[in-house]
């Protein structure tokens, strides 16, 4: 029984590990490239913490509702090679995630960018617990994310250097066999990798690899490089699953109104006085 379980586990993991997947995806009609279209979603706990972690309690007044699920992590080797100052900063991020602090000389705001409904950045947008849709054209690809209505435009026809910094970065795509390789630069320093406070600077450079691993699975890998924060490049990876539920549809999650009390609540007129 035990050995049978072990064998099936190895078999299940093998296609994901293989460098050149045996699976050949259907082509985008009229082209030589695999068709990555669809409504996709990660099944990980990485949005809470990209590293391995045990379950954590949420705010006690909500019981088990907002507790954090345990997760095996998505970072290869489970180590994020922070420079010493940056590791301290990561811890501070987490401690002050919901404390109003003044970081820009103007606003008093909690630090956590997801709580504030900021566009989530890359790669985080791909492992938030929300679906996103890939619409693959022959010259460009749109990746539409439900969270914060963030969108990415991936240019396949002409690679251009990032003209300006942004939350979702500037994406140039190319095909490496059946793998879509997206080079993302032009980030600002305002997004995090997770709720644990893992962060980067504006020098972030992400190279994503999107590989069809089965009719309903994309294997996703991102190489993270940021010489201002990390001592070496590192990788994270996880599978993306196609949403197969019958009525699955890309829906709106415009969270700005949900964040306003947190962001502006202290500026609200006090009533009843």
């Amino acid at each position: 029984m035990g050995s049978w379980f072990g064998v099936s586990l190895v078999l299940a993991v093998l296609p994901v590990l293989a460098q050149t997947p045996a699976y050949r995806a259907p082509r985008l009609a009229g082209t030589d490239h695999p068709n990555l279209d669809g409504l996709w979603q990660a099944l990980t706990e990485a949005n809470w913490d990209i590293q391995a972690h045990a379950a954590q309690p949420g705010p006690p007044e909500f019981g088990a509702l907002y507790a954090e699920p345990a997760g095996p992590g998505i970072v290869e080797g489970n180590e994020i090679p922070y420079q010493p100052w940056a590791l301290a900063k990561k811890k501070e991020n987490f401690e002050k995630r919901l404390t109003r602090v003044n970081t820009d000389g103007v606003r008093l705001e909690p630090l956590d960018p997801e709580a504030k409904c900021y566009m989530p950045g890359v790669p985080r947008a791909n492992y938030m617990p929300f679906p996103f849709q890939i619409i693959q054209g022959d010259k460009k690809i749109i990746m539409a994310y439900e969270f914060a209505s963030a969108s990415r435009l991936i240019r396949l026809d002409k690679a251009e250097p990032a003209p300006v910094e942004s939350y979702m970065g500037w994406s140039n795509g190319r095909w490496d066999g059946d793998t879509l390789v997206v080079d993302v630069t032009g980030f600002n320093e305002k997004t995090w990798f997770d709720r644990a406070g893992n962060f980067h600077s504006e020098a972030l450079h992400v190279v994503e690899r999107w590989t069809p691993a089965g009719p309903d699975v994309l294997q996703y890998e991102a190489q993270i490089e940021d010489p201002k924060v990390f001592t070496r490049p590192w990788k994270l990876s996880f599978p993306l699953y196609r949403r197969l539920d019958k009525n699955a549809q890309f829906l709106e999650f415009k969270c700005v109104p949900f964040s306003e009390e947190l962001v502006y609540g202290h500026l609200r007129k006090k009533t009843g006085k």
């Binding site: 054209g137 539409a144 435009l153 109104p257 500026l267």
Partner: protein
């Protein structure tokens, strides 16, 4: 026999060539690219052009000259007027006249049809709320909280659908794939993901800021029907039950013909339609708005500071 066959084959090849022009690799009409719907042609026909669909050449030139001057004028530097008008020709992206007197072509008078009694009542109520500032969307103050500020200033949506041109960032990116059309709207960086497979709309109690869109092809025209709008956003006084039908047709390499028809019996006495050219433009950029919304922060902080100052007096 053989030469005739060759002739037929080359004719067929020519025909195929003509057909693939403007088609995606999978054979749908190709609307893809970066587009701008900027134009100074107003939605409704001004009274002075009553009875006329088109401007004269001279009127069009005069209007464009006025646009060029008005978008680039400055007030005396250092004055509040100058700061208020700090957007100059570098920022504005108003486009030019398209030669018509209005974007609305139906009804033929170029005007939004009369409102129904219900519609008028809602409009009057909205005007009253704006003045007394109970959720005053037009921002007259005193800004008790973010809800008192309009949706655009709150960075929730730029405007309800259908999108008519505004001062800047009138940019859209269309990407197609078999079974879907995606329209990325530069403001507010959301993508309209439009299924073409004929599936039914969302349940009627599921409402979205940009509604729920379904598309299909009619010849070379993409037809998109949108329902399920939210009652928190309104187009020209519409209710959440407005039905929107939009049509995109490739008119030239650098131009799409865009038309919309809206109907909402609770608001207007008849459906009405407008046409807006979408012209080829350059790269779209990220319109982060909420993330750096110093404007709304300042409005609310300023209102609280004014209240404090008033108490001190």
């Amino acid at each position: 026999m053989q030469p005739i066959l060759i002739a037929i084959a080359s004719l067929m090849a020519l025909g195929a060539l003509a057909q693939t022009h403007g088609k995606t690799p999978w054979g749908d009409p190709d609307l893809q690219g970066s587009w701008s719907n900027a134009t100074t042609t107003p939605l409704e026909r001004p009274a002075k052009y009553a009875g006329r669909e088109f401007l004269t050449k001279e009127e069009m030139a005069a209007q464009n000259k006025q646009t060029a001057v008005a978008t680039d004028k400055r007030d005396t530097p250092g004055t509040p007027e100058d700061v208020n008008g700090a957007y100059n020709g570098f920022w504005w992206e108003r486009g030019w006249s398209d030669g018509r007197t209005s974007l609305i072509y139906d009804p033929p008078d170029g005007r939004i049809p009369p409102m129904t009694p219900q519609g008028k009542e809602r409009k009057a109520e909205q005007a009253r709320r704006n003045q007394t500032n109970e959720g005053g969307e037009l921002g007259a103050g005193p800004f008790n909280g973010p809800e008192d500020v309009e949706l655009y200033t709150r960075c929730i949506i730029r405007a309800a659908l259908p999108r008519v041109p505004t001062g800047y960032d009138n940019n859209y990116e269309i990407v197609q794939t078999p079974g879907y059309v995606a329209i990325l709207q530069e403001q507010m960086h959301e993508t309209r993901v439009i299924p073409l497979d004929g599936r039914p709309h969302l349940a009627s109690d599921v409402r979205q800021w940009l509604g729920d869109s379904r598309g299909h092809w009619e010849g070379n025209t993409l037809v998109v029907e949108t329902t399920n709008f939210s009652d928190q956003a309104s187009f020209e006084g519409s209710t959440k039950n407005m039905r929107l039908v939009e049509r995109w047709t490739r008119a030239a390499d650098d131009r799409l013909d865009y038309r919309f028809t809206v109907e909402d019996p609770a608001t207007w006495t008849r459906p009405w339609s407008a046409a807006i050219a979408w012209t080829k433009t350059g790269n779209l950029y990220e319109y982060a708005c909420h993330e750096d919304n110093y404007g709304l922060y300042g409005i609310l902080a300023g209102a609280r500071a004014q209240e404090k100052a008033a108490v001190r007096k």
